[in-house]
């Protein structure tokens, strides 16, 4: 019945004109003649007349009308036709609906948690006006925590909330992994229908579109034919599931890969690294690409039992030892005189960056790559603390300690990290191993969480908050005591000292996200607006009160969020329901 002359965009509905001979005819907004029938023809006639004007083209239909009322007659006829057409509209043909979304067996969110998600997503869309932050919590900052806990608890996103969730993930890449996990299979199903959400289908976020790591054929097919990003994601997924299978996959095509691809691939061995990877990495030390060689060497140095580590240890202990001539035990350093091809093959970079001497550059690399376990025998059975405490001859101390710091981080060695961090009470600038807060933060990350929190708490108690930001960033959330108390005390001290709260906005923001919700009780007394003291900055008291209010209300909100997500579940007895609680049954 339909003619192809009708543009697809104007096909709206079909109509059965009452009394018309044609059972169905395509009615389109454009005046396209599509069907027979007197009614249709009359309408075309009317439209033509109306377009050109009744003066030039009198309508043929209404005969016997006075010339003066031709427009009226035309409009009468058009009105009749319009109403009749509208009244006779019939549905059009149905298109094939999209394939149904896959089942999502996860449980739905409790009602209160659903409303909270809507609120958090709405808060993201309407951020608070720039400038002063006021006393209300920053909802957008709480979204990552909420998503993580909801995922841990095995919930699925409400269907109607998926568009807002995908929009949030589109705008904030840091939200993507958790948001897409919550969105689940229906989220991916939806993303396929809207090009704006294409990001969900590619890259590491496309968990749903990668074959299961156990599906050997599919893995093989994608590995052989996939795009680079897909292959990186695939390798990471397989490696996470079964490190040996990941290595085998990589080894099967290794020699044919391009240099820049090889670098990414070898780097992905970092996860699940074990002695089983040594042989492959040892071979990669002979790679054509220098970056691949350097990465392989770095990974090997994290395997203290490897042959590589043995070679490095042999080199390092010839350079560093005890001075036999000194009265008290002293470390003496004899930096290498050359960087030979064997050393370069093991990843040492021969030419130093501008401003550094060649020999100290080589020494640093050697000590960094040598297994830390080689040092106690070298220093007659001394432990890390004693070794770090030994004086070092000829100003080599900083160089040597810095290299040990890098080695401790690389080898995740808590004993050496502890020794190199030293006592938190020592002023940062005179610390034993390193003055750099970034390196300290890295050393801290190798310690068990409780010890880490304790160290940072003592640091804050001794030095205040001004240098604590980076260190706080590596502590586990929520902050365990005594860390939470130390931060609150330090904020209180800062307030009494009369400074403005925005000098501490970084720590405040962290505290809002990381303090245990129970800390709200301790903070309550600080929200009061204090009397203005003489020596404080004008108005500071009010701003502090506001900042503490926001802190308290954010903590309350987090407690409420957590309670909503744990709704109806037996309380997990091990960790008291913290945000890091294990997933429910």
């Amino acid at each position: 019945m339909e003619k192809s002359t009708t543009p697809p965009t104007t096909v709206v509905l079909t109509t059965t004109a009452p009394g018309s001979a044609a059972p169905t005819a395509t009615v389109s907004a454009a005046a396209v003649p599509t069907a027979d029938g007197a009614d249709k023809g009359l309408w075309e006639e009317l439209v033509t007349s109306a377009l050109l004007g009744t003066d030039r083209r009198p309508p043929a239909g209404p005969a016997g009308t006075a010339a003066g009322d031709l427009p009226g007659a035309l409009l009468d006829a058009a009105a009749l036709h319009t109403v009749r057409r509208r009244a006779g509209l019939r549905p059009g043909p149905a298109a094939t609906p999209p394939d149904p979304a896959p089942e999502d067996p996860r449980r739905p969110l409790p009602p209160a948690a659903r409303r909270r998600l809507d609120q958090l997503l709405a808060g993201r869309a309407a951020p608070s006006p720039a400038g002063r932050r006021g006393a209300a919590p920053d909802l957008a900052e709480l979204l990552p925590q909420w998503l993580a806990l909801a995922n841990e608890r095995g919930y699925k996103a409400p269907a109607a909330g998926l568009p807002a969730l995908l929009d949030a993930a589109r705008a904030r890449t840091d939200l993507r992994p958790q948001a897409l996990r919550l969105a689940g299979p229906r989220g991916l199903w939806l993303a396929r229908l809207n090009p704006e959400w294409r990001f969900a289908l590619r890259g590491a976020g496309a968990g749903g579109s990668l074959p299961a790591p156990g599906d050997r054929e599919a893995v093989r097919a994608l590995w052989d034919e996939g795009l680079f990003a897909e292959r990186v994601a695939l390798l990471a997924a397989v490696r996470a599931e079964d490190p040996a299978a990941g290595l085998a996959l990589l080894a099967s095509t290794w020699s044919a890969e391009r240099a820049e691809d090889r670098l990414m691939f070898v780097d992905s061995l970092r996860s699940g690294l074990s002695a089983a990877d040594e042989e492959f990495l040892e071979a990669a030390l002979g790679d054509r690409s220098r970056n691949v060689r350097a990465t392989a060497a770095e990974l090997l140095s994290a395997l203290p039992a490897s042959a590589f580590a043995g070679r490095m240890a042999a080199r390092a202990i010839t350079c560093v030892g005890l001075d036999r001539t000194a009265e008290s035990p002293t470390i003496t350093v004899e930096a290498p005189h050359e960087c030979d091809t064997a050393m370069q093959r093991d990843g040492l970079v021969a030419s130093p960056p501008a401003g550094r001497g060649e020999r100290s550059w080589w020494l640093g690399q050697l000590v960094e790559a040598a297994p830390l376990s080689c040092w106690p025998p070298r220093f007659r059975g001394r432990g890390p603390e004693e070794i770090v405490a030994l004086p070092v001859a000829d100003d080599w101390r900083d160089e040597l300690h810095a290299a040990w710091c890098r080695a401790a981080v690389r080898q995740r060695d808590a004993g050496w990290s502890r020794a190199l961090l030293g006592s938190p009470a020592i002023p940062p600038a005179t610390g034993p191993g390193t003055a750099s807060l970034a390196e300290r933060a890295q050393l801290l990350s190798t310690l068990p969480p409780g010890e880490r929190a304790g160290w940072v708490a003592s640091f804050i108690a001794a030095h205040g908050l001004s240098e604590a930001f980076q260190l706080l960033g590596v502590c586990e959330v929520p902050w365990a005591e005594p860390l939470g108390g130390a931060v609150i005390d330090a904020l209180d001290i800062a307030r009494e000292a009369g400074s403005y709260p925005w000098s501490f906005s970084g720590v405040m923001g962290l505290a809002e996200r990381c303090l245990a919700p129970e800390a709200a009780r301790q903070l309550e007394s600080l929200t009061a607006r204090p009397d203005e003291a003489e020596d404080t900055s004008p108005g500071a008291g009010g701003y502090w009160s506001e900042a503490f209010q926001r802190l308290v209300s954010t903590l309350r909100l987090r407690a409420a969020m957590r309670a909503e997500l744990l709704d109806g579940e037996p309380p997990p007895d091990s960790v008291g329901g913290h945000l890091s609680a294990p997933p429910g049954p």
Partner: protein, 446 residues
């Protein structure tokens, strides 16, 4: 005590996006003190930037709001924040006695609420105005003005048709703007609105001459109907008067029911914000449209949260299928089941629109519920198709570009669901949906 609203429902009361955001931020315990609820009200003190906290109270039966903040918005962010707090934190607002500062206001509200229905009923009764003769003369004068306006508009349309619609594209907006102003002078806002509509059609995309002819013809039909109103059957004459812009009182017999709020949305132009609220009577099966107006940039007074059920009466207006109605007081939220209205296939929806045109040929759409339909993408865009895969209704172009479309698609997941919306000659505009997994939950699509 009134039923506690959900956060969604509270935020639906917000007059604008800024208030919604500010209100949801104030919905935490931090800034609040002295909160309590009782006697159908909730109150609290909200610490703001000033030294004294704002005193905020909400009568949840209205709802009506009291706050001594300087905001001109109603409800203000404090009232919204208080309701959000009550909705989210079960322990933050506990039962208490009404504080002194809120008691007089609440007592006055209660007094009014009890007398209000009587007043309304009295107004509905055939009780003449103070000077019936003067009122009759005023009405006659206005009718005469409208008549001359309608005649002038007829002349304009005749001129346009004589010269051809093709000229409308060149003559542009100015000519129509002037005609619209003349219709406002003639006290015929309905005609003025139609004229502005006509002005926007040339240049509205392919096929505009056909749309322009259709709308010109319907405007002509309205002119003619007005000029012959005294010879029309009474219900049709009432429709014509309403379409021209004469407001009649809501004098229909009051209908008491549990009303499910299906949708609430605003349409704003430079002069006026019009809010439409669709209700479904869960017992009577009746659909009612509440209209509320706000001056430019101001939110309309009436706000009802989608998905809530209210117990109360609505008084229908005459004309246009008696869809439009006025809510009586009190209009009280109740905890009642809120299932979707019964619906039918897409063909039945178009039948309903066609039947409604018999009473009001100027109807652009008619409220319908579709059951067992699936959103599907055709060549021209999205449609709602019967689950048997035969017939489908296209979505209107505006509905195609709204974010609500994706909520609808997501809720469906490719499976049939129930959708309420407006069905008309431009297609279907979905306004609310219910999925089979949660049939009691109204998901707003606008």
């Amino acid at each position: 005590m009134g039923v506690r609203m959900t956060v969604d429902q509270v935020l639906a009361l917000a007059p604008d996006e800024a208030s919604r955001s500010a209100g949801s931020k104030l919905g935490t315990a931090g800034p609040w003190s002295g909160t309590g609820s009782g006697e159908g009200a909730v109150w609290g003190l909200c610490r703001g930037s000033g030294s004294a906290p704002y005193r905020t109270a909400v009568d949840t039966t209205g709802p009506a709001y009291l706050c001594d903040c300087p905001s001109r918005r109603s409800p203000c962010k404090h009232a919204l924040g208080l309701l959000v707090l009550q909705a989210t934190d079960g322990t933050a607002v506990e039962d208490a006695t009404v504080p002194e500062w809120a008691a007089p206001w609440l007592a006055a509200r209660r007094g009014r609420a009890e007398s209000a229905p009587l007043e309304t009923r009295a107004g509905a009764a055939p009780e003449g105005p103070a000077d019936p003769e003067a009122a009759r003369r005023r009405a006659e004068r206005r009718a005469a003005r409208i008549t001359s306006g309608a005649q002038e508009l007829e002349q304009r349309l005749a001129d346009l048709l004589r010269g051809g619609l093709a000229t409308a594209e060149q003559s542009g907006y100015g000519l129509w703007e002037e005609t619209a102003a003349r219709m406002v002078d003639a006290q015929a806002p309905g005609l003025a609105g139609r004229v502005r509509e006509l002005a926007s059609i040339p240049g509205s995309g392919p096929g505009w001459p056909v749309r322009l002819l259709e709308e010109c013809a319907l405007t002509h039909l309205l002119d003619r109907a007005w000029l012959a109103a005294d010879r029309l059957p009474a219900p049709f004459a009432a429709t014509v008067r309403t379409r021209v812009g004469l407001t009649a009182p809501a004098d229909g017999a009051p209908v008491r029911d549990h009303w499910l709020v299906l949708a609430q949305y605003d349409a704003a132009d430079a002069r006026l914000t019009t809010r439409r609220i669709w209700l479904h009577g869960t017992t009577s099966g009746r659909t009612a449209l509440l209209l509320s107006f706000g001056a430019a940039g101001r939110a309309p007074r009436l706000a009802l949260p989608v998905g809530a059920v209210f117990d109360g009466e609505v008084m229908p207006y005459a004309g246009s299928g008696r869809l439009r109605a006025e809510p009586g007081e009190p209009f009280v939220p109740v905890a009642a089941p809120a299932a979707a209205p019964p619906g039918g296939p897409v063909g039945a929806a178009l039948d309903a629109y066609g039947r409604a045109l018999g009473e009001d040929p100027w109807l652009d759409s008619w409220p319908v519920t579709l059951s067992e339909v699936v959103p599907a993408r055709a060549e021209y865009g999205w449609q709602l198709a019967d689950a048997d895969g035969r017939e489908a209704l296209p979505l209107t172009p505006t509905a195609q570009s709204r974010p609500g479309l994706w909520r609808l698609v997501a809720l469906s997941g490719g499976a049939p669901l129930t959708v309420f919306g407006e069905c008309g000659h431009r297609g279907f505009t979905p306004l609310a949906a219910w999925s089979p997994e949660a049939p009691g939950e109204t998901v707003p699509l606008i």
